[in-house]
Symmetry: C2
Subunit: 180 residues, 2 copies
């Protein structure tokens, strides 16, 4: 499995559909999953994490879908990666330097002082990767997408999500699902 | 498992022991594993990959251990990561953008043109990570280690590897192992 997994990919695609969406067409996790042809149960788990990280907010009741909890300019790709992956490290140092046979299970202090030189390189690489992810936001990815998307697709998507939202909350007691 | 796995960590630690080592004390993969208290079979596999990538060279016969195939200034951390991990990507794009329910299994050309905006951010982050790994070499990590290592440890290590090399090739026909 890649370091930045498909959960991040799906989450970002879902979040892009929340950028600029009207409150009355706020989609549920199921709506977003079905619209994009991915697993609804997987997307529901992703939204639990995104909500916990303060990136999205769920509306009340069966009618309430998800909205961004912050302006898209303030949602970095790094924040989404950390919300979904839980900040897993690029490199998991096992402190091999402690194990040298000459130390007989008692490594001297000079051998374990500071960060291992190999680990330090990995940390630098991770930091560079994270800085690149932090430079990009939902807003700028959405701007890039909006340049190429066909206007009629945007309208059709809006209509689709509004119909879904209406179906969920249109007739009280007969909603076809919850926001989750 | 972390993206840059423990194979890379072990390989780098082993390679550091090859920097500046005398040809007559060239260690086998087993020597390097036992010296560092890690699995000999795992280290043997790592050396197969390092040799295939042209980073190390095995001496001939039972006496021959491993040496660096290039000066340590020319062995980047990136080269070791790629040799061990096989250049696995940071992010494995599933092209979610093709699956929108509105396309009915036939995504329009505008929807799949160029690299997906999300994938582009991940590629940039990967590139930054790789550039950081390419900035560091075995030589500079070894220089950092040499500042803190106790001189008597270097001598003891040299003695240990020479004894091992002698035991492998000292009495023809009775070598205790091969270079691998």
């Amino acid at each position: 499995m890649a370091h930045i997994g498909n959960g991040v990919e799906y989450a970002l695609h879902c979040l892009l559909y929340l950028v600029g969406r009207q409150a009355e067409a706020a989609p549920s996790a199921r709506d977003l999953a079905e619209f994009q042809g991915v697993s609804p149960s997987f997307v529901a788990k992703l939204f639990t994490r995104l909500e916990k990280a303060g990136l999205v907010r769920a509306g009340e009741g069966v009618k309430g879908g998800f909205r961004l909890a912050r302006p898209p300019e303030q949602v970095t790709v790094l924040a989404v990666v950390d919300a979904i992956e839980g900040g897993k490290p690029l490199f998991d140092c096992r402190e091999v330097r402690r194990n040298c046979v000459l130390y007989r299970d008692a490594p001297p202090s000079w051998a374990t002082r500071g960060v291992c030189g190999i680990h330090a390189v990995m940390r630098e690489a991770e930091q560079e990767m994270r800085q690149a992810l932090a430079r990009h936001t939902l807003a700028d990815i959405a701007a890039g997408v909006s340049v190429k998307v066909a206007p009629q697709h945007l309208e059709a998507a809006e209509t689709w999500f509004q119909a879904r939202a209406a179906a969920r909350g249109g007739r009280p007691g007969e909603g076809k699902g919850t926001a989750r």
